[in-house]
């Protein structure tokens, strides 16, 4: 790294950081919306499991897009 001031400071956003925020945080509404809160909760849990299994496959040398994992 060129700058000595910030030796270990790296910027990186993983899909997991995104999923943990977009699906698990923010303003949550019940009522007039088309989808129930419980549905999104389920998707969140499912996606976390999926991301873990994709990462495990990649560790074993099998790169996968997360979309391929469900096919």
């Amino acid at each position: 790294m060129s700058s000595d001031l910030r030796p270990d400071l790296r910027q990186q956003v993983t899909l997991l950081d995104l999923v943990d925020r977009v699906l698990n945080k923010g303003v949550v509404l019940s009522g007039d919306i088309t989808l129930s809160v419980a549905d999104v909760d389920l998707v969140y849990v499912g996606l976390r499991v999926l991301l873990a299994s994709v990462a495990t496959l990649e560790e074993q040398g099998m790169p996968v897009a997360i979309g391929d994992a469900l096919r």
């Binding site: 001031l5 910030r6 030796p7 270990d8 400071l9 790296r10 910027q11 990186q12 956003v13 993983t14 899909l15 997991l16 950081d17 995104l18 999923v19 943990d20 925020r21 977009v22 699906l23 698990n24 945080k25 923010g26 303003v27 949550v28 509404l29 019940s30 009522g31 007039d32 919306i33 088309t34 989808l35 129930s36 809160v37 549905d39 999104v40 389920l42 998707v43 499912g46 996606l47 976390r48 999926l50 991301l51 873990a52 990462a55 495990t56 560790e59 897009a65 997360i66 979309g67 391929d68 994992a69 469900l70």
Partner: protein, 260 residues
């Protein structure tokens, strides 16, 4: 043929001034608040269609990224209160009703995060660099390292196992200590902060052990980043690595009463 629904990404103060957003993003203004929305087909986002879509990982990833992109472009110009993924109303009137019914809570929540951004900080301990760096501050480990280097045969094996265990214990202790030091110093440089669940190596995408996963609500971003750089400089020789993410819309700082 298909009816339109309204996807609500987040809420801003009205009028927000010029926003540089995707062409299909519209503001729905109701009193002092505006919803950041886009029209979506209910064939795709209606309840039955949506529950099928939610099992489609390609669709999910695309739309999760889109949700974040829309909000980040708004965040570049103004404070935005993020809604959770797939907040979809059937009509524009429903969006307006939500904005007016929850006006007080939304206004208060916006005021709390106004002019502030969420920054994520993750800290990891690199085992090899710790063994060569931080671990050597422990006298017992230094002595044992020297002994192990001179030992031969079975004794060398036993001593190196003992050394490994000692270094492992010391690393766990250092990780905890560093995490609490980091969190308290970063809290001082931020308005608020929360600790998030640690990510296991297969999820974090890194082999090193994660010891801190924090989110901080920050108004003085240069000051916060200076403090982070100072911490990195202090702790990196001992094997600690830091990662900064953001700025994020303040997902982790939405008041409890708006969290369902």
């Amino acid at each position: 043929m298909s009816a339109d629904g309204w996807y609500l990404y987040g809420v801003v103060e009205a009028p927000p001034g010029p926003l540089d957003v995707e062409p299909d993003v519209e503001l729905v203004t109701e009193g002092p608040l505006a919803g950041v929305t886009s029209r979506v087909s209910l064939d795709e986002f209606g309840d039955t269609a949506l529950s099928e879509r939610l099992g489609d990982a390609v669709w999910l990833e695309e739309n999760i990224r889109r949700h974040e992109q829309v909000l980040e472009r708004v965040l570049a110009s103004t404070t935005v209160l993020p809604c959770r993924f797939c907040t979809v109303y059937r009509t524009e009137a429903d969006v307006r009703r939500f904005l007016s019914e929850r006006q007080d809570q939304l206004t208060a929540a916006l005021a709390e995060v106004s002019g502030r951004v969420e920054l994520g900080v993750k800290a990891f301990v690199d085992p090899e660099r710790f063994a060569a760096g931080g671990a050597q501050e422990n006298e017992q480990i230094r002595e044992l390292t020297a002994q192990t280097a001179q030992a031969e045969g079975g004794r060398a094996y036993l001593e190196s196992r003992r050394l490994e265990r000692l270094v492992g214990d010391e690393r766990a202790r250092f990780g905890q200590e560093a995490a609490s030091q980091l969190h308290s110093r970063l809290l001082d440089a931020a308005e608020r902060g929360v600790l998030l669940d640690l990510q296991r190596p297969e999820l974090s995408g890194r082999d090193e052990e994660m010891v801190l996963n924090g989110a901080y609500l920050v108004s003085d971003r240069p000051g916060f980043e200076r403090e982070l750089a100072a911490l990195a400089a202090e702790l990196s020789s001992r094997g600690l690595e830091l990662e900064l993410t953001g700025p994020w819309p303040p997902y982790n700082f939405v008041s409890e009463e708006l969290r369902g």
